[in-house]
Amino acid sequence: MNPAWTALLLSLKVAGWATLLNLVGGIAVGYLLARKRFPGRDLLDTLLTLPMVMPPTVLGYYLLVLMGRRSWFGAWLQEHFGISLIFTWQGAVIAAAIVAFPLVFKPARAAFEAVDGQLEQAARVLGVSEMAIFFRVTLPLAWRGILAGVLLAFARALGEFGATLMVAGSIPGKTQTLSIAVYEAVQAGQDDVANTLVLLTSAVCIAVLLLAGRLAPGRIANQMQG
């Protein structure tokens, strides 16, 4: 199989899983921060934003320290599950997910905060459980804002290479994602290869983003009373 093709599939797999993890985690954390009051809430928000502020390579280094064989966590994973995250695509997923996480939870928080609380009240009186209210009222109304963040996270996960490279290495066919391949081509001065790969990545990204945009429900919020 064409190596670019292999890298593309791997990239989609990594970015897809990372986005899925972030979708769930980002919505949960964003909701928590928007709705629950607890001491240190804003500090937690800020701390969770820190992965953005660290150069990805450095973040990757810390992840290596955390998940490596010599760390207690890495050792524990190894011992109990026989899992090693370093040099595996699962490791790449975790790196990409952490790098992109702030992109999801922060817009999600803002979107949840913009949902009119009275609508949730109305649903409560109608006997619908809190969990169901979340899925039937809150989430649909916050969805556009969340989606904006999720799409950004997907793009970022697709483009990430600093942290991924450090954690997963660059093993062709195994952990060499498209963006790592691009990076290597540029480094090696192979401009045509790099250009081709960039075009490929961009095309895939455009396709995915346009598709996802279609999935968004109509611009309801905007027309609410308009």
């Binding site: 064989r69 370093i86 450090m166 480094q187």
Partner: protein, 228 residues
């Protein structure tokens, strides 16, 4: 007058010291140091970055610079030598004396800079090809993006061994051990050159000359470099 020096990342610590001394000696001079991967530095220069002096970690990059007409052949000189070494974690029980020993089944992973883009990877490939080990070891290889990544992997025990420069091994003496110096039929030497487009040629020449002075060579030596 300011002189901008683009130098390979591996020279960071040594060049910072040398530049400082230089400025003490010539108080009117100002040295702006710019570090990065040799290839990236070349790309910056090629796109018009205002650089006066270029110190590369390999000959190929400088060759490319020459071919693009950025430096004159007469202006380039090798100023240090480095050695390729095979390292293992300090607590490693492996017994590696020759490259052939990498064939042992206990050696599962070897970190090698990506030969396509990382100079140290190219040298490693030369050495392994000469020893007729290159294709055989391919399956154990982890390609890294720079020396530092290989070093980290070895230091943290993620790989069983790795190929790095002697100067890199010197950074982490407490975590990695040099198993052997890798025999090479080429010399790993670093070239330095004044750029044709330099707007400050005299200062550039003076700085290059300064790098060759014994006190500068002593500093380089301190960080594991050898005389050219």
């Amino acid at each position: 007058s300011e002189v901008t020096v683009s130098a390979a990342a591996s020279l960071t610590n040594a060049f910072k010291e040398i530049a400082q001394n230089y400025q003490t000696q010539y108080p009117e001079a100002k040295v702006a140091l710019n570090f990065g991967a040799s290839g990236a530095l070349l790309q910056q220069i090629a796109k018009g970055a205002p650089v006066d002096v270029f110190a590369s970690a390999d000959q190929e990059t400088m060759d490319a610079a020459e071919k693009q007409g950025l430096v004159a052949n007469a202006d380039r000189r090798d100023f240090v030598k480095n050695a390729l070494v095979l390292i293992v974690p300090v607590d490693s029980t492996l017994n590696i004396k020759r490259l052939d020993d990498l064939n042992q089944p206990t050696v599962k992973r070897i970190a090698i800079g990506n030969p396509a883009s990382v100079p140290v990877g190219r040298y490693t490939q030369h050495a392994l090809e000469a020893a007729k080990l290159w294709p055989a070891l391919e399956s154990k290889t982890i390609h890294t993006q720079n020396v530092r990544q290989s070093l980290d992997y070895v230091a943290r025990g993620e790989v069983d061994s790795g190929f790095v420069y002697a100067t890199d091994a010197a950074i982490m003496k407490d975590k990695v051990r040099i198993a052997m110096e890798v025999p090479l039929n080429v010399v790993i030497s670093y070239p330095i050159a004044k750029l044709k487009a330099s707007t400050n040629a005299d200062e550039a020449k003076r700085f290059i000359a300064y790098v060759f002075l014994p006190q500068s060579q002593a500093i380089l030596n301190k960080y594991g470099f050898q005389k050219p």
